[in-house]
Amino acid sequence: MKSLLVPFFLLISSLNLISAQAQDATAANALLLEVDQRLQPQSYEMYRKLINIEPNGKQKSFVLYTVKKGKDKMLALFLDPASERGRSSLRIGENMWLYIPNVGKPLRITSLQSVVGGVFNNSDILQLDYSVEYDATEMLEEAQHYLLTLKAKSRSVAYDQLKMWVDKEYKTPLKIEAYSASGMLIKTLHYSKIKDFGNGYIRPAMLETDSPLYKGYKSVMLFDGIQPREFNDEVFSLNYMNKVGELRE
């Protein structure tokens, strides 16, 4: 009789474990969704300043105007410096295009290409909501934060796995480590300077990035002017890429 009970209890306990893991993943994905909602509205416009800092302290900055609609439509326009002015990038789901004024027509591009040199690439510039690109597989609760483990939903996502430290009070990310499929750390993102952007959005205004692939280099992204705004779907089309600047008010 004893010999029959042992496998039975093992089966029950393993089922409990699977159920606990499923609950864990459900709670983790719910938290990830809340992180996205706290970071920005579903449809919005915002301005970003991207600063590349070289090991000798020399800086080069870029300013982008970005609009987003729904889960998978995003459009970013370079406003500064003059050498990049008018360049725009469009993302519709996994489709990405680059418009260069001199070329005069949108070119299909790959998500991993660096846009301006330095640590940021296209995927960083046109980052969709985390919950759109990643599944949360694990959540650990620690004293000041939660630690989420995120797995890319498809191979087209730039980073295969993320580890995200989430602030318990504001439910916004504090730090994110991005890993390749082989488990190599590609870059680390540090969010800071919590700011009230209005419309209920209290979120970090600064994102610092460093990468073992760019030793000594650092990139900083400053966020401003984040506000909910509705756009027609036609704004997110190839024909509109040379007119994005007209959306500004």
Binding site: S83, E94, V235
Partner: protein, 418 residues
């Protein structure tokens, strides 16, 4: 000890000051006026191939060993916004000096009024550059645009005077976007005089679809003399680091000057051009662009040899005929039946941020001649760009790149954006 502490505090204060980044949002709000552009200064040293047909044609018997060329340009762009409209202007002034000639030029490259009553509709009237197709080096479907320079595909081009309208609509099914464009281009002695496919009016239309992961475009043009042209192009991502594209064009009754029995005859045939290409990002972050241009009705190697032999002749009449043929079409780039383009480019070359390196190869598979162009572009200061290029051409006698004027060149360009 006190000094060390003071130094530490000072350093900490300096560091925290350095990390205090600012962002003045007001500076980037939309303004009614915009004014921007660039200025270039370029110096080129060409080593002349004394035995090449095109250097014989340019210099006759006084071929120099080398040639210095100096070039400067100023491009000015202006924009004025009002209501749902804008007026856009692009002007270009250039000056070139070398042993052969001194040229200066001023053109209004674009000047148009654009009305955008909604985000779906756009109307344009004036001189505007419309760019069609998916090719990077060549544009077979560019029915209403001036030819691209494959050696420098990102150079701005002059537009044509036109009346245009564009419409875009988004959908939720497998077709995610659909857009259409209709254009009317008048032609006369004074307006669009180099628009070859028309006598008085050229009508053109474009239909674009985004189907799942594929862009699909259809093009049509019809001139007042009932000459039609049809085109199709596509681009799609096969994976996150591989894109494939293509352009296919058919033109009815294209005039082609042909040297037959020491006479230039204008032959009129239907012409088909196709371009297949891919863009690939490898694990070392090198972007590869490969394109193959196939145009079966273009000059054969034998036809080109006839031209090169004439240009190399000692007979003055032959040289004059070759000069006429060069101007008529034999002297253009990539006029052969098959051309290959391969470009490998890398950002932050040798871990130097803002230094981009590229290597470009043009290859003529018919005569096995080629041109290789290494290139470095560096932006050491904000809005200042330095570009260094070299050129190495090789090929046997009577081959496309073997008969070019120069077989080696180096070029340095400084560009200032404002």
């Amino acid at each position: 000890m006190r000094f060390s502490l003071a130094l530490l505090i000072a350093l900490t204060a300096f560091n925290s000051q350095a990390e205090d980044f600012s962002f003045d949002l007001q500076a980037y709000q939309k303004k009614p006026y915009e004014f921007f552009g660039h200025a270039d200064l370029t110096a080129t040293h060409l080593q002349v191939d004394e035995n090449a047909a095109l250097s014989r044609l340019s210099f006759r018997d006084q071929t120099p060993e080398d040639l210095q060329r100096y070039y400067g340009e100023l491009e000015l762009n202006g924009l004025y916004r009002f209501d749902n409209s804008l007026i856009s202007f692009r002007g270009l002034g250039s000056y070139q000096h070398d042993t052969l000639q001194t040229l200066s030029n001023r053109t209004i490259q674009e000047l148009y009024w654009q009305l955008q009553p909604t985000t779906s509709w756009q109307f344009d009237i004036g001189k505007k550059a419309v760019k069609w197709g998916k090719g990077y080096a060549w544009n077979p479907v560019g029915f209403i645009e001036r030819p691209k320079n494959p050696d420098d595909p990102e150079v701005n081009r002059e537009g044509y005077v036109m009346l245009g309208s564009e419409w875009t609509h988004s959908l939720n099914g497998p077709i995610r976007n659909i857009s259409g464009g209709l254009y009317a281009l008048p032609r006369s002695e004074a307006v669009n005089s180099d628009l070859t496919d028309s006598d008085t009016l050229l009508m053109a239309a474009k239909l674009s679809l985004l189907i799942d992961m594929t862009d699909l475009d259809f093009y049509l043009s019809r001139s007042s003399t009932n000459k039609n042209a049809l085109g199709v192009s596509f681009a799609s991502n096969l994976s996150s680091n591989l894109e494939v594209h293509g352009d296919f064009a058919w033109r009815e009754a294209v005039e082609r000057p042909l040297l037959v029995d020491n006479v230039i005859q204008n032959q009129r045939d239907a012409q088909f051009q196709s371009l297949i290409g891919l863009r690939y990002l490898d694990s070392r972050e090198i972007t590869w662009i490969l394109e193959w241009l196939h145009q079966p009705q273009a000059y054969s190697t034998d036809e080109m040899r006839t031209f090169y032999q004439l240009a190399s002749s000692e007979d003055l009449n032959d040289l004059q005929l070759a000069q006429q043929a060069r101007t008529a079409g034999y002297g253009l780039s990539n006029v052969g039946r098959n051309s290959l383009y391969l470009r490998a480019s890398l950002k932050d070359w040798w871990d130097i941020v803002y230094l981009n390196a590229a290597l470009t190869l043009f290859y003529n598979p018919e005569d096995h001649s080629s041109a290789v162009t290494p290139e470095w572009v560096y932006t050491p200061l904000k809005n200042h760009e330095l570009r260094f290029r070299a050129g190495f051409l090789q090929g046997s006698r009577w081959s496309e790149y073997g008969e070019k004027l120069s077989d080696r060149k180096i070029e340095l360009r400084w560009r200032w954006y404002f």
